[in-house]
Symmetry: C2
Subunit: 337 residues, 2 copies
Amino acid sequence: MSDALLKGTNMHKPVFDSNEFRRSLGTFATGVTIITVRSPDGEPIGVTANSFSSVSLDPPLVLWSLAKNAKSLPAFQAAEYFAIHILSAEQEGLSNLFASQGADKFGNLNTEQGIGDTPLLDGCCTRMQCKVAHQYEGGDHIIFVGEVVDLVSNDLTPLVFQAGKYSLAARKTDDTPLISSSSSGFDEDFFGYLLWRAYFQFQSEVNKQAPFRGFTSLEFLILVTLAHNNWRAVDTLCDMIVHDGDHDLVGQALESLVEKGLLQEKADKNGFKLCGLSETGNEKALELLTIAKSTESTFLERLGQKESAALKNLLKGFIVETDTGIPHPWERTEGEA
Amino acid sequence: MSDALLKGTNMHKPVFDSNEFRRSLGTFATGVTIITVRSPDGEPIGVTANSFSSVSLDPPLVLWSLAKNAKSLPAFQAAEYFAIHILSAEQEGLSNLFASQGADKFGNLNTEQGIGDTPLLDGCCTRMQCKVAHQYEGGDHIIFVGEVVDLVSNDLTPLVFQAGKYSLAARKTDDTPLISSSSSGFDEDFFGYLLWRAYFQFQSEVNKQAPFRGFTSLEFLILVTLAHNNWRAVDTLCDMIVHDGDHDLVGQALESLVEKGLLQEKADKNGFKLCGLSETGNEKALELLTIAKSTESTFLERLGQKESAALKNLLKGFIVETDTGIPHPWERTEGEA
């Protein structure tokens, strides 16, 4: 524990160290901002900060803090104006760039000139141009309070910082259970159920469309997998899309697709069974693509843009974290046609 | 636009109104805090605030702002100590309570006494006891800077506020594509693929366990659905767990379960076909429950606690938003046994 942390109260010595304090601050989620200014000698200056906070509505004031030992401090202390950019989810790279020391931050960026020649960045959620209202003492930092004099905002998904990691935030769902509780131990919160149900609702919607009534989920999977990479060994296909033991089901689905004229089977020179889409099958797969993409749009629109981004992000994270090495069926593999 | 918003600069009149300013501030995600204090006459006081910000590491300083017209302002201005509680995802109700006017906020709460008799709340992510260091002018607010003199923190999922809504934040996943891009139009970001793949990995893991090798996903679904509510009409069961046209597949799965001695079929008095779990079937369903729950734990642990909470939250939101009225198979329906 540093001596500095021990001062400040004579009755109650703090029982934490600097790392603990940092970690605790991380439990408070924040957005991420880049704050820019023009230095007295005309240099564009910018720093990444998450110490932004709203202060007042009338007049419109916001604040942020900058370390007293920051190289950019003199420029901010001298300036009459600065600009705050609340970053979007796409701007993680920009956040890293402006958080780094000594990098040529503006070299490859298109900036506009704001009030007081302040460099302005694009593609953020909100851009506020501020006139310095106060500079307050704040320990090893200076607190800059600015009056917002110009404002541009849009509906991009914001970048979030929580527990030291870039994050995405999504609206909390109502706590009402999806299904009434049961005595048998599975409940609506069971993850397997949520995954199955979400997938089921998606597939059901596709199945409602006239061209795909009567198609099974497995038939969908086969169509799309072969559309990515036609003529595959039946055994390979089985391993990619069904669990241990379901090979008979794939056989039936293949048979059904052959009957519909969408699939052809043949043997390779070693006698292994291959299957591939017919011309009609290819067209059908493209039609499926169109319908599935439109279902995706409709569904994700209902969920909301930020929530969709967060859900995709988390499903992807889940898939990566729990990947057991099963091949991805849509991946083009070497040596296949 | 209010007159107040027009002042502050003579060169650049703000081109936004108060609502626009508020909305823009909402693009900066924040945690949610409750700040408590003991009034001079001994009353416990608390307010919800998201204007918290870290200021300094050495000394450890944080700040927040309170409206000058807040009833609680005199108490905070008079106090030597206050406490900041960074709320957890479970504390949405507490946040609403302390954001409301005139409610008996402390009536039903168990509080501890902190330094300066400050009332302390439980169950939050972080609790900081602060000694007032500065009170700064901030337009229609006062900025309180406090030196943190005591700190308790834990690993609960934090409550987040974004765009005016309670939210959950989760770590952003690496942007690397899951599968190499394809010319045929479906890509790794396609939502149907992500849902299927996540479900597939989950089921595959369950399938790896010796008791369930060779079981199909449909057999799992039937076992669990009947464990919730035994003896169902086969047609009802079909509608609940497969899409239009898949009824034959359910028939096969039922047959396979009968062969395994897990399922019995009979006709009701009107001649409708019913199916129900045998005693062995019930035991098998409970075994499946245990294995699936343990798979859930393993997988969600790999994803991380905050991410798991966020993923479940979003899947639930997705299911609610895109529900087309298909019955939930695990819901106990009236009139069934």
